[in-house]
Symmetry: C2
Subunit: 493 residues, 2 copies
């Protein structure tokens, strides 16, 4: 294991990060994009070493890690493209108007980076949501330096990725301190980073306990700072009656795959499936069970996660009214997670908050409701979620408005006849939802819109053209979309 | 005084607000805009009564209140226009692409309202930042019902305004509960509103202590919710050397007006003026003093504010190194605020945090720095601000980069050779800044962009066209700007 960063080093790291911030925020969008693309290139070059080390540390299969690395490179490149296009700055210009009463000055608004950002990566994504992952890419695009707290589950992979970032920084002549890498498994290291006065924002992907602790520390600072913590979700799936009656087998097969993909270690893993008691649901449950039995257990990311899965699964299965439907026919080896499906009535589910909680791993609970009203009650009582899935015909949606409306309250992404796993990196993605899925549902951690977490609007009032930043100059030298006197345009003034 | 709302009524109010939310969020942008415009019309019709009552309650002069009411009507109408145009929904569409690996589903993102919003109005703006003020207009535009906690300083004006909103709601067939009005001066009423589980966001304009209390309550809830609290600012003004040498008299006269406008009761009142010791600054101070002596005291909003001003002014004036430059030659009557200018050296200013705090009223402190480096140090040590003003030539800005960069860290709006008072309502406005100016510098409470405080993104994945909200349908029936496969367009698919 790499050596822990000594606590007394944190202050120096933040001071250097702050100095880098003052320089880096003056860099052009092209320079930021170039830096991000260079990181992507270095990661690609280092792929053999990165894959080898990450396989050792995470026990994830090579194909999965390879595709995650490809995704990470795609994120860096596509956010770089978005950054460079500049429309995300939401530049707004209202020209002076002395005919109005009171007269209007010349006002020009753009975004400015918040300052040094601390990123806490995820145990389950050593590349895409860790050291050079989505949060880091968003912060660099916004104009912020980044300090990554390496995840102890893949600390050495994190070192290798950090080396790629530092090499890219050097090649692109970035200011010293644009990126720093901190090792340390203790809560104290995280707390010291989040509570340092020069820290201006935090990005986190992980457990509820971890994210909530960071959120509380950040809000209790003399100067509170924004925290975007993505803390997981049970991702409820609603089986509407008409659709279920026509496709129980296909849905069961699709969901068996989704539940067990990567040994269920996705924040979008479908942990809860809600349907109406009857022969269609019985058919679905039976088919799901048959599928699950055939899927062998897989080695989980690290022994701690495997142990937590075993414990939480065991605790869930002994709750009143819960019956196991099926588990994998294959015996589990060391640190492996056993694919498992259980079921419970709506009434029991209501009475037991433990059943609403995520069991991180290849586990899903089918809730058997008495009728559509009880199903709606379940939706009304669920906490905030990253995703909800609707297995439904058009007729189902039109007929069951109260249920659909209840589902709309709780999620960030509404999936029609699909599975929640597989989060596309695209501008239209929303990976965020009402608490406790995330700490602020107004932002996303997947897709280039995630940049907005790390920037704030500023206005220049009556500044001479020569002194304005490029994106606000009369001639529109960047050629970006701007809202001028309430109309979107690429024209200059 | 109107009767206090009994604490046991709060739960019923929130429940009704939640029911209204479920209906109101389905209303079209046109219907929301129509509702907002109808409120504007009702306020205009009720103007004589509103002005009479508000003059009694706030002691503000009729001309000021009349222009504030005009501003309030303008806000409602212009935010309604913006709401109706729909581009603020930031609709994004990525069409399905099976040629990619992994293949991309059809993803369509829009904004959805957060839910019931609690608004706490400002003592100093009975119309524009109170019951039917900017926050209320933004929440209605976003699709949220509003519950206003009336400010005790103008509780009866608030009743009259609430009646206008309710009449408009009835005329526009809005759901019962779209708006509620709560009276009560106690902290407990505010706390009950903010901590109710059905409350989903808070808007506040007022003191640091008030705003920070709401922020803390909101973050300590089992489900934390966003609070946008605008908590005031000292709005530092930086006198750059070249500009000061050419225009000391003009600047002094402009600032004497700004400091004393509305008896200094603006959150953008310039409370701190920073310059470099020397004959130019002496000339400025002398001219400012001469101007201030001629400006008579004015009656403040209410006795509590007048008393607080007297006490804070007195406390500021007896600090070590602080000397009074001038005060109004006219003796103050009951509850009047005396225009006052004091001065202090940079060294004394540094050593005394009390001098960094706002003295709400017609008071400003001139900080005399040894040199440009000390002036930069002052900028580096100031807290977050709504505005900063730069009194400077282009040469000044180009020559003193460290000072300009330091100023950029702390403010939301940077004013060149003007005064911070007079906040234009425009899309390009930013009325928000780093803490403690506001609780989240990524949002604004003036300008239609303030709507974004009260909405969150949601994504529809693979939904049939017929079931999508209007703004996401293939044909683009609303004719709004959308980002389709990464390009802004008004075209349909």
């Amino acid at each position: 294991m790499p050596t822990d960063t000594p606590p007394e080093a944190i202050d120096g790291i933040l001071r250097q990060s702050w100095q880098a911030f003052l320089e880096y925020r003056k860099f052009s969008l092209q320079q930021r994009a170039q830096f991000m693309r260079t990181i992507a290139t270095r990661l690609t070059e280092a792929a053999p070493d990165l894959l080898k080390m990450s396989m050792e540390e995470t026990h994830l299969p090579e194909a999965r890690l390879r595709s995650e690395l490809t995704r990470t490179v795609f994120q860096l490149n596509s956010y770089a493209d978005f950054c460079e296009k500049g429309s995300w700055l939401d530049a707004r210009i209202d020209t002076a108007d002395t005919s109005r009463n009171p007269s209007r000055p010349d006002l020009r608004k753009t975004l400015t980076p918040l300052g040094p950002v601390i990123i806490f990566g995820a145990s389950n994504f050593p590349f895409a949501y860790s050291t050079a992952g989505g949060d880091t890419a968003c912060a660099f695009a916004a104009g912020c330096p980044v300090i990554v707290k390496a995840h102890p589950a893949h600390a050495q992979t994190s070192e290798l990725v950090a080396a790629c970032i530092l090499a890219a920084a050097k090649a692109c002549k970035m200011p010293e301190g644009i990126f720093a890498h901190v090792q340390g498994a203790s809560f104290e290291t995280g707390k010291a980073l989040v509570t340092h006065p020069l820290t201006k924002a935090v990005g986190f992907t992980g457990s509820f306990n971890g994210g909530k602790a960071l959120f509380d520390w950040a809000n209790q600072r003399p100067e509170p700072i924004p925290v975007f913590a993505e803390m997981g979700s049970v991702n409820p799936v609603f089986l509407f009656p008409e659709k279920l009656s026509t496709a129980a087998h296909d849905i069961a097969s699709m969901y068996a795959d989704s539940i067990t993909q990567s040994v269920g270690q996705f924040c979008t893993n479908p942990g809860l499936i809600i349907g109406i008691e009857g022969k269609d649901l019985q058919q679905f449950i039976q088919a799901l069970g048959e599928n699950i039995r055939k899927i062998p257990p897989g080695t989980m990311l690290h022994p701690g996660i495997a142990k937590a899965y075993q414990e939480k699964r065991a605790a869930a299965l002994i709750q009143e009214g819960v019956s196991k439907i099926a588990e994998s026919d294959t015996a589990a080896g060391n640190n492996q997670g056993v694919p498992t499906i259980a079921s419970v009535t709506g009434a029991h589910f209501f009475g037991n908050p433990l059943l609403h909680q995520e069991v991180f791993g290849p586990y899903s609970l089918v809730v058997r409701c008495r009728d559509i009203r009880e199903m709606t009650e379940v939706a009304l009582h669920l906490e905030g979620q990253l995703t909800t899935s609707l297995i439904a015909t058009e007729q189902d949606i039109l007929q069951h408005t109260p249920l659909v409306e209840a589902i709309k309250n709780i999620g960030g992404r509404f999936i029609m006849n699909g599975v929640p796993t597989g989060v596309t990196v695209a501008l239209s993605m929303q990976h965020g939802g009402p608490f406790p899925a995330t700490t602020d549902p107004r932002f996303t951690s997947v897709g280039a819109d995630g940049i907005k977490r790390f920037a704030r609007p500023i206005v220049y009032q009556n500044w001479p053209d020569a002194l304005l930043p490029e994106e606000l100059k009369n001639a529109n030298p960047l050629g970006i979309w701007r809202t001028v006197n309430n109309e979107l345009t690429k024209d200059g003034l």
